[in-house]
Amino acid sequence: MAFERVLTRNVGNRDALTLDGYRKTGGYEALAKALKMEPDAVIEEVKKSGLRGRGGAGFPAGMKWGFIPQKDPNQPRYLVCNADESEPGTFKDRLLMEHDPHQLIEGCAICCWAVRAATCYIYIRGEYTKAAAILERALKDAYEGGILGDGVLGSNFKLDMYVHRGAGAYICGEETGMLESLEGKRGQPRVKPPFPAVVGAFGAPTVINNVETLCNVPHILVRGADWFKSIGTDERNTGPKLYAISGHVERPGTYEHPIGITFREMLEAAGGMWRQGTLKAFIPGGASAPILKASEIDIKMDFDTVAKAGSMLGSAAVIVMDETVCMVRSVARLAKFFNHESCGQCTPCREGTNWMELVLKRLEHGEGREGDAMLLKSVAGNVGGNSLCALGDAAVGPVKSLVERFPEEIDAHVRERRCPFPEYRYF
């Protein structure tokens, strides 16, 4: 199937970094079109396209925008673009920001018009220094080119956009944690409800969208919702999608595919397994997604199919593992990550992630005991669903899938009193 790159069309086109270069590729036409439409019509169009959030949860973007209360015209409203991409294995937003910053700015501007927000913050991960610099320059160009500021493209729509750099916490990618951080507080999630659509940044209604989600918006407006819907598997899974493939593949990197491509096709596009290795397992959606086994290689990589298989598409960061990988060790490494990044405010996540890491480390070091698998499952069960934000659930995913799908590896660790796989220097 010949697929025309949409989101990444300007990757490699260095001209697109400049305003004129971006305009040459049809840039800011969508914004001009949007400004001629009623804001509600823009929301309707996005709703019709079936665009789902690309950040992890897959929540329909148009519906999210529709939640913003519009009764009081004087009430401030905000758009916060979530560019705090920090899950292990995820590097798709970075590509979009570094190669096509204006596409993001245009998407943000359209969203602001649709929800009547006058301020947009792009909360970018602190380590993305290059992307932040490129965005800053693009913002400067956009202000000078009349795209942003007092009159957006000559209309009387006023829009300010800022880049806010994070200070290096995974939890600030959680939407309310990000708002706290944006407000200058300690980055830890808030209790929901109220949801950000009602009480968000600085107490005002706020839309929070992922970079990739917003980058889709200009294309929807220019080419129409029907075009967008024609890509993908079904009504609920539409549009192009970036997949960040890493691990034991020949050519790791970010690939754009129509949503719903099978994992096998995706693997082929990335050059197949590294050195003709055998696929053992893969994580379909970033560190927080439960691990899938090699037998599920023909799974369609869209939101619903992956969810049905007991995992999640998440941010579509695909990590491929070959037969040399010790599952206990890799899950222990993920557990270490989540323990390190837990904000520490809620009990199950703070204590549970720590405990799971300790047990997994013990297993990996050959000190495992009979019943550890059950213990892990039980602890994971107590964390999952009971934590304040989604980080607890995320931390549980890999652990649960280890116990459910790879019990024989835990058994081997316990039985042999050592890790049966070759040494790696992870710990």
Partner: protein
């Protein structure tokens, strides 16, 4: 007003009430650590997870009761296996890294972890093969002069952090680090030193924050706890006196939404130490023969002592008879003292009070600021206002009609001037009325009276020089009512009996008055209060037994001066 059903019990609550509070209304206790009624809801301890059904549909996840607002058609269950599992799971999480050092922990006996693990936890540990997380070097960190932190015991509920940000509004405490290494601490260069700082010990559900004052003083399960009123200032914080066999170990704030809410100040908590550091007057003490100022001291019975005082009061000499009250007197004592002054025909009455720092105790109405270092200046002054009873002397005919009004000896005249030398008898109703009782110059001035009677619990320098020193009860040992800075009358009862010969001032004064007229004999505080209520308009409608637990505002509005005028009118007719 939404109706919510909790474990099949339906209750109608005010809009905005959360499920924990609604549960309290119908007797369903939902366990919680981080939730506190006066602090923002953060929903982070996850102990209050409950099952919520909205419109007959179960919400997919368990919800925190603290952050769930009771709504119409909402049904909450706290007893399903799923909820029990979550509660047991949370308890396990709390305890895996807790040192379990209950035998040496001050909180043991009133610890949220102990209570809830008994009720909701499991009896064995699955955390056997890993090392506990500890905070080396942070087991006893003084956060400030009043609070010591043991980080190992902390369960990161952040109540203390929110208290300093939202109630004391000083913001010394913060949440540092992340994940399992999260800790509580003061911001660099700051220490937890505000007037309310010890309240963080009260809000701490575990033994992480302990009070310097109470640390290792007593096991809390040996303490007897009796409700009372703080005597530190005129806010009148409701407290619990916690003592062991009459030895007070600490004061804790007692919830009263009208006065001190859940809080009290550090100074108030320290006031009981006075009862231990100042020597106690334990027996009636008389000096030599009548009229001698330098005789030897003799211990006597109450009968001898009161007979002596009675005789001196009835001797109508040229000198004045003056009554020096105290802000520590209860209303009943002050009223009886005023009756005694009536019998002595004396207008020379007054209530000296020391001024204090003026700390504010926050409550829902904004707060009450205490300015005086005594709990009941207003109440005592209702009855012992300087000059009240002057008309009495005239009607009694002691002074001729044409005679000019005698100069009233007020507290200033007595304490700072030469008033006492004009006194035939000076009755000081509290040996610990303020700093004056310990100031040599003041003591010397008061001693100039021909006959000095001192009642009091403290063997203060003033009591030491008295002709008759009468041992009475401390406020922890007597019944009474106080009127606070907002004219709220509050009742308190004795926490434990008075030691030695000491008896309550009401009893002693009634005994003395009984020598003038038998009708006074044998009065107790409750009967005196009921008599006050029947005679003084400000107290009309109250009785001792129906006075609400939160106290009741007196009928007299407004300021001190207005009150004093009103008080003059409320004086009883002479019978």
């Amino acid at each position: 007003m939404p109706k919510v059903t909790i474990n099949d019990r339906t209750v109608e609550v005010e809009a905005g009430t959360n499920v924990i509070e609604a549960g309290v209304k119908v007797g369903v206790q939902i366990p919680h650590y981080c939730y506190h009624p006066r602090l923002t809801v953060v929903g982070q301890c996850r102990m209050c997870l409950v099952e919520v059904w909205q419109n007959g549909k179960k919400l997919p996840k368990l919800q925190t009761a603290c952050s769930t607002t009771a709504a119409e058609n909402m049904e909450v269950r706290t007893d399903t296996p799923e909820v029990r599992q979550a509660q047991a799971g949370m308890m396990e999480f709390f305890l895996i890294n807790h040192p379990l050092d209950c035998p040496i922990c001050d909180q043991a006996g009133e610890c949220g972890l102990q209570d809830y693990s008994f009720k909701h936890g499991v009896a064995f540990s699955r955390f056997q093969f890993e090392d506990k997380r500890t905070y080396p070097g942070r087991e006893r960190i003084p956060l400030g002069p009043n609070v010591i932190l043991n980080m190992n015991r902390c369960i990161q509920c952040t109540r203390c952090v929110r208290f300093t940000h939202e109630v004391s509004k000083t913001g010394e405490l913060g949440f540092f680090n992340r994940g399992a290494r999260t800790e509580i601490g003061t911001f660099p260069g700051k220490e937890l030193d505000n007037p309310l700082s010890t309240c963080v010990v009260d809000v701490c559900p575990v033994g992480a924050l302990t009070s310097t004052r109470f640390r290792f003083a007593e096991r809390v399960f040996y303490l007897d706890k009796k409700p009372s009123i703080c005597t530190g200032c005129d806010v009148g914080c409701n407290i619990t006196i916690e003592h062991r066999r009459g030895d007070i170990k600490r004061y804790k704030p007692r919830f009263n939404p009208e006065v001190n809410d859940y809080w009290m100040c550090d100074y108030g908590r320290s006031t009981f130490e006075r009862y231990k550091t100042v020597p106690r007057l334990r027996a009636c003490r008389m000096r030599g023969q009548e009229g001698e100022k330098t005789g030897t001291e003799t211990m006597g019975s109450w009968k001898e002592a009161l007979d002596l005082v009675h005789r001196r009061l009835r001797l109508r000499t040229d000198g004045a008879v003056a009554f020096l009250g105290s802000g520590f007197l209860t209303n009943e004592e002050a009223w009886l003292a005023a009756r005694l002054a009536d019998y002595a025909g004396s207008p020379h009455r007054g209530v000296p009070v020391d001024l204090g720092a003026g700390w504010t105790i926050p409550n829902l109405q904004g707060g009450i600021t205490g300015t005086e270092l005594a709990p009941n200046r207003r109440g005592a002054e209702l009855f012992l206002r300087p000059g009240s009873g002057i008309e009495l002397e005239e009607t009694l005919g002691g002074a001729g009609n044409g005679k000019e009004k005698p100069q009233v000896l007020d507290p200033d005249e007595l304490l700072l001037g030469d008033g006492a030398s004009k006194c035939a008898v000076l009755v000081v109703l509290d040996s610990d009325f303020g700093r004056g009782a310990y100031t040599p110059e003041v003591v010397e001035r008061l001693r100039r009276a021909q006959f000095l009677v001192v009642l009091g619990w403290a063997d203060s320098p003033l009591a030491k020089v008295a002709d008759v020193a009468l041992p009475v009860a401390t406020h922890a040992e007597k019944d009474g009512t106080f009127v606070n800075a907002e004219w709220r009358v509050q009742r308190f009862n004795a926490a434990f009996p008075a030691p030695g010969q000491a008896r309550s001032t009401v009893e002693a004064l009634a005994d003395l008055l009984g020598r003038f007229d038998a009708k006074w004999a044998g009065l107790t505080a409750d009967k005196v209060f009921d008599r006050i209520a029947s005679e003084v308009p400000a107290f009309t409608g109250h009785t001792w037994h129906t006075l609400p637990a939160t106290g009741s505002a007196l009928h007299v509005p407004g300021a001190h001066t207005a009150m004093s005028d009103a008080a003059a009118e409320t004086l009883p007719e002479v019978s």
